[in-house]
Symmetry: C2
Subunit: 194 residues, 2 copies
Amino acid sequence: MDIEPLLAHISHHIYLSKEEIAILSERVNYRNYLKGQFIVQQGDVCKHESFVVKGCLKTFHIDSEGQEHIIRFAIEDWWTADMGSFITRTPADYNVQCIENTEVIQFSYEALEELYTLIPQLDRFFRIIIQKAFVASEKRIIRNFSHPAKDRYVTFREQYPEIEQRVPQYMIASYLGITKEFLSKIRNELANSD
Amino acid sequence: MDIEPLLAHISHHIYLSKEEIAILSERVNYRNYLKGQFIVQQGDVCKHESFVVKGCLKTFHIDSEGQEHIIRFAIEDWWTADMGSFITRTPADYNVQCIENTEVIQFSYEALEELYTLIPQLDRFFRIIIQKAFVASEKRIIRNFSHPAKDRYVTFREQYPEIEQRVPQYMIASYLGITKEFLSKIRNELANSD
DNA sequence: CGAAAATTTGACATGACTCAACTGGAGTGG
DNA sequence: CCACTCCAGTTGAGTCATGTCAAATTTTCG
């Protein structure tokens, strides 16, 4: 119920005064979810930006064939939402679902818009956060084009060792854009070549 | 030499006073490039964010095998840079090259940092711009995973008809993550099925 | 312990790639 | 105004990475 982790995270990028912290505290919500629960469902308007205090989530899209495509994971200190839906107030393309019991601090659209005017520094904070996310996202596009699945898996393991421990293999396959069967074969190869 | 197009673009998202416009005008540079020239080269630190007044550019990465991968195009009213390099002041992963004679308005890193403090609204402006770019980038990851190349090409044509007219086919193939030969075959199929 | 979920394995299919040859315009210079 | 070259695009044969489907196995957990 304590928003300290959020404040610590924010203070890495901008300075907030006591008053600003108070203003912010009043406008965010702490919330618990159980494993399996959805924070956002495809088709609904995404109501919150969520900062993860504890737990693990996946953001995924279900395509017209019913296939699930994981676009990102989120663990402690990350943000998650369907940002497209959130900013345009239109139905979400993605689901955000808890893979573990999860605790988040949430900003509703109205609260956040108000906070942007009350604490202009927050524009800067989110600009910085989103810049980084954007850069990472474009890197991933290139990686997907220029490296075979095996390399992408190895890179993933190095880059997110913690996530690899916490999520089932078939979800990692989905994140990498391959089938669970093929990932299994890749792992087999890797094990035999070590 | 006139920064009016930039001001018009900015004013879609935030309001700037006469004074702020003056402050901004003093700190940006108008620059012309010829077809073929590079605004950023892989390995150099990206020195500017560039707003395109006129022309067309590609941003691409050369991988270890010497293959070129186009990550995005930019035409009038778009921004371009290697943002990762620009914000971290580290060597660029990407090249930005003019496909046509091009005119841009440039923000240097120092100028932009100063502008963020002089005109806090600019944090908001860039937050909004980058949010949109991020959403589009993640959509593209999903599209690449969930649709075959033919569908992606058709979508591309619908989404960016102007770009399709202005850039050679082999660059579109690279943007779509396929070879020029395969795109040629796709086009052949499409022509025969209409 | 038993059921459900996750992972593995194998046979076969296919989308996309490679490489090499060919076509067809758009300059350019004699 | 023709011949020459250069670059973009096309075509075809063969190959490879990854997908599909179905069954077997292992792990997880009530």
